[in-house]
Amino acid sequence: MAQIVLDQLAAKFTGGEILESGTSHGDEWARIRRDAWLAVGEFLRDDAATKMEMFIDLTCVDRLGMHGGNPDAPRFDVVLHLYSVVHKHRVRLYCGVTEDDASVDTLCGLWPGANWFEREAYDLYGVRFKGHPDLRRILMYPEFVGHPLRKDYPKEKRQPLVRRNAATRE
């Protein structure tokens, strides 16, 4: 249903920026090389046939230790969902990011809505967004150490800010 998006992308970006693409369970997706992230986003937003002006979601997937996963693939995948109100189609874009250099360009210049979503991806996964105007934690408190949604962060490891002395009534 959104095959036109993948066709437009394949037609415009012929230098290997689109690493893979396909359709699964009715969703069209494409994997983008990291240095082309901003260019692909801008093209999808502005091209008349795709017109993906609505920013839906940006998140990360941590594939550390995933069953059937490729051990050579980068650890994190930044996942972007876009939608077009005009054409009513949507696409999912992946960008593989390694653990050592976990950063990708920011999309705040293209869609202002990306601001908080990128802050959340930074907060919970530790992926930095180059050029973000205000990259700080959004869901966790500033004193928190670590990135909790990574697979190697234990679920129950708390970092309390305040505790009372339970022996007294205070």
Binding site: M140, Y141, P148, Y153, P154, K155, E156, K157, R158, Q159, P160, L161, V162, R163, R164, A166, R169, E170
Partner: protein
């Protein structure tokens, strides 16, 4: 017991009676239990019948802190600060299972119960508790207030007893009133400091 002490204990009873039927609540609402709190305040399960009607929107004017919903670690300092701003005597009710013990959330962000930062008098379990359960918890709290066994009431009483013991040159052993199970009425003579 001398006549003066009898008089004072009756005045205490009267004061506690007045306090329990005129609770000024500060609802510290965070999550889903807030919806059931709204239902309790609504006409069907009217909380106004119990005297605890109008929420005081400042902790300085409130004496009952109702902690409604999950407390996260981030919220801890704010909750503690609000508790500290209230004047004594003050009572705390943990409304819902998340405020009592953390609920079914066991993770890096949820505090396992609000009693990690404030002393709680009554825990109301439920996810969310039915309004009838909340009213039951409120009645338990009122009984406790009448007996003078809320945490802050015990603190006040024990501070007074400690000062009195100091004036008389004696050592003070512990709180004057101990927490008894529901249904038993404490006999003050048992815990009195020896003259």
């Amino acid at each position: 017991m001398s006549a003066a002490e009898w008089m004072l204990s009756k005045i205490d009873d009267a004061t506690n009676w007045a306090r329990k039927f005129s609770l000024f609540q500060y609802p510290f609402v965070t999550a889903c239990c807030g919806m059931e709190f709204m239902s309790v305040a609504a006409p069907k399960y009217d909380i106004a019948r119990f005297g605890a009607e109008f929420p005081r929107f400042s902790p300085r004017q409130a004496d009952l802190l109702i902690i409604v919903g999950t407390i996260t670690e981030r919220q801890g300092p704010a909750l503690r600060r609000i508790y500290d701003q209230m004047c004594e005597p003050k009572w705390v009710v943990a409304f819902g299972v998340c405020a009592s013990t953390g609920g079914f959330y066991q993770n890096y962000s949820t505090m396992p119960g609000a009693d990690q930062v404030v002393p709680v008098d009554v825990y109301i379990p439920g996810c969310p508790p039915r309004p009838e359960q909340v009213l039951d918890g409120l009645i338990l709290l009122q009984e406790r207030i009448q007996r003078g066994e809320g945490h802050s009431q015990i603190t006040i009483a024990s501070e007074k007893a400690a000062k009195k013991a100091e004036k008389l040159g004696q050592t003070y052993e512990g709180p004057l009133v101990s927490i008894r199970p529901i249904g038993e009425h404490p006999k003050l003579e048992e815990n009195k400091v020896e003259k």
